[in-house]
Symmetry: C2
Subunit: 366 residues, 2 copies
């Protein structure tokens, strides 16, 4: 059964195919201009159809966080980088099995992870590529010094079952304002460049230097050491990429459609999209009072409070107010975890109709 | 394949069956003592097996937020209250169909909702029970005055397809500290009592007066007007119910098991449970610095930052620190949305083994 924006049951996510195509083309053009490979992060859409569109736009393969995501991609994944320090047995064994038939690389920041991945690969009769994860300032994962990076690289290069493939960095700390990105990315370049030089000096190679992130996506050329980038959100965009200045409203491909179910309490309405639809992820640029999404048709309305299935919209500052039963379109703060709540989203195709788009890797947590 | 706590792939949720049984018995005993019916909210566990345990413990039926949850429960739901102002066609039609074979009641706060529900019921040849939702201070949904409540009650009583069943209140604003609950619940009693009296004076009846919430659960007798309560979280509990003083640590039945995947950055470790496992829901009693879960084995560790698949744990104040590859058990801030991320959780049965427990109504958003 096909729906339109006026008939689709709510709450749901609608993805505009034309906007997706345009977003993919823009990133592909940029990357091509700067001789960067694009390795999109699968986590944003978790959809085989979207993955196919990314490959058609020139992607060399995918980044994933989970073995289950890589399994879902399977052969279609082509060349998969698990941008995640997998070291537990459930994950290493599955990755090693996948590496039989496809290229699987894993970014790690510990000797233990290399040992366990190599051991799993030897048991499976395969080889896992290793990228050394170097912390460039986000301070989440990643070795802290070039010395440590070189040590792990040496271990990867000399361990059966492992293969040294290069370096991974994640500039998760670099976002808005855009004007400050060049200076901050110069430090990333310095670290990445020094690591590559140090690897070379030790007789080790780093054919891949993988960068990342949608916020820094179009400034990736400021880190010339990079060979590839791993943007994820760019395919759909969201309120965070909009508020950060990394995209325009026209480039937001995904909206959450919700119905006004209550207007009984003064100065507000309630929609049927709560934290089980929008998630509780906050707006990066205004965590405290930024609310839980942006409503283009009611730009002064603020989604102030979420229960699991209720979204409360404060209309105090809004000259217009939606009526009971109306549908509204919301751009969520962070699209990736919203997608992961849906078994399927709706793809608005060129004919204007909505067709179900399965979220093939939804809930793949291992 | 069965697992133990040491072998189950992470991240995952483990539910202790013995603790569940004890939590259900405790609420059942309390309610029985005070002649209150228990109508558990299905949203917390979304599991048919847990629903069966609740019925065996004396539950009269269930509260749900979504038509899809009610459909999942089906006949096992017995007597379902949609504690949600359903008024969109997709939902009203599905509820009306269900009402053919079972008792379906809906709590509403608008004339439009009664019209649409009654119309759907007439089309389906069924009848939907109506509870009038009265705002008792949470200011989310609910009519604002007793006059408005009586008006909707009159409409429900006189509309074909609808049946007036009573009143619903939700004291979502009443939580910690427990010592303040009696005074605040006295106001709820006043409103509920006045509404019942007003209904009677107008020749209308309110056989059901439905209260709610785990935080106020064991103080429900302070609202003598109530005929039933709708606790949800009490079956599993979580860090919010623990921090509010509504349960003890021994009564927390659900924990998230995660693996330490990185210790490369000083003074922290990273586990494989991020916002796609723990959600970004904050701690009610300390929203800003309360962190994203409680780790009983490392009580001074703070889960300071979540990415989608990374949980960063600050160990600055923790004398002990988990090692790379270790498993840790986390009590999440809010268990309900965490459960909704999993296709199945693990039930630790009396033999100590873990058996898959499907989350039957996961992602039922309509």
């Amino acid at each position: 059964m096909n729906f339109t924006l006026e008939t689709v049951p709510t709450p749901c996510i609608v993805v505009n195919l034309q906007t997706v195509r345009s977003n993919l083309r823009k990133m592909a053009d940029y990357a091509s201009q700067h001789r960067l490979a694009v390795r999109p992060h699968f986590k944003t859409h978790k959809s085989l159809r979207m993955a196919k569109l990314q490959l058609e736009a020139g992607a060399i393969g995918f980044a994933c966080a989970k073995a289950g995501e890589a399994e879902t991609l399977g052969q279609q994944g082509k060349d998969i980088l698990l941008a995640y320090p997998a070291l537990d047995e459930a994950r290493t064994a599955r990755l090693a099995r996948l590496a039989h038939d496809m290229t699987i690389r894993v970014a790690v920041d510990s000797s233990l992870a290399i040992d366990r991945l190599a051991q799993a690969a030897r048991s499976a009769g395969s080889t896992l590529g290793i990228l050394v994860d170097i912390d460039v300032g986000f301070h989440r994962t990643g070795v802290q010094t070039i010395d440590q990076a070189a040590q792990l690289a040496g271990q990867a290069a000399s361990t059966n079952g492992a293969r040294l493939d290069g370096i991974m960095v994640y500039p998760g700390h670099i976002g808005a304002p855009l004007a400050e990105q060049p200076a901050r990315l110069a430090l990333v370049q310095e670290i990445a460049h020094n690591a590559v030089e140090r690897f070379r000096a030790s007789g080790l190679s780093a054919p891949i230097v993988s960068g990342g992130s949608t916020p820094t996506g179009y400034n990736s050329h400021l880190v010339p050491a990079l060979t590839e980038i791993r943007p994820g959100t760019y395919i759909y965009n969201d309120r965070n990429t909009l508020a950060g200045g990394y995209c325009t409203l026209d480039e937001c491909a995904a909206t959450i459609i919700a119905t006004v179910v209550s207007d009984a309490v003064p100065n507000k309405v309630v929609v049927d999209a709560g934290s089980k639809t929008l998630t509780s992820d906050r707006l990066n640029t205004n965590r405290e009072s930024g609310g839980h999404g942006f409503i283009p048709a009611y730009p002064d309305a603020v989604i102030t409070r979420l229960s699991e299935e209720h979204g409360e919209i404060d209309l105090t500052q809004s000259p217009q107010r939606p009526k009971l039963g109306d549908r509204i379109a919301i751009i969520p703060n962070h699209i990736c975890p919203c997608i992961n709540l849906q078994d399927a989203v709706w793809l608005q195709e060129d004919d204007g109709e909505l067709h179900a788009l399965p979220v093939d890797a939804r809930g793949k947590l291992i």
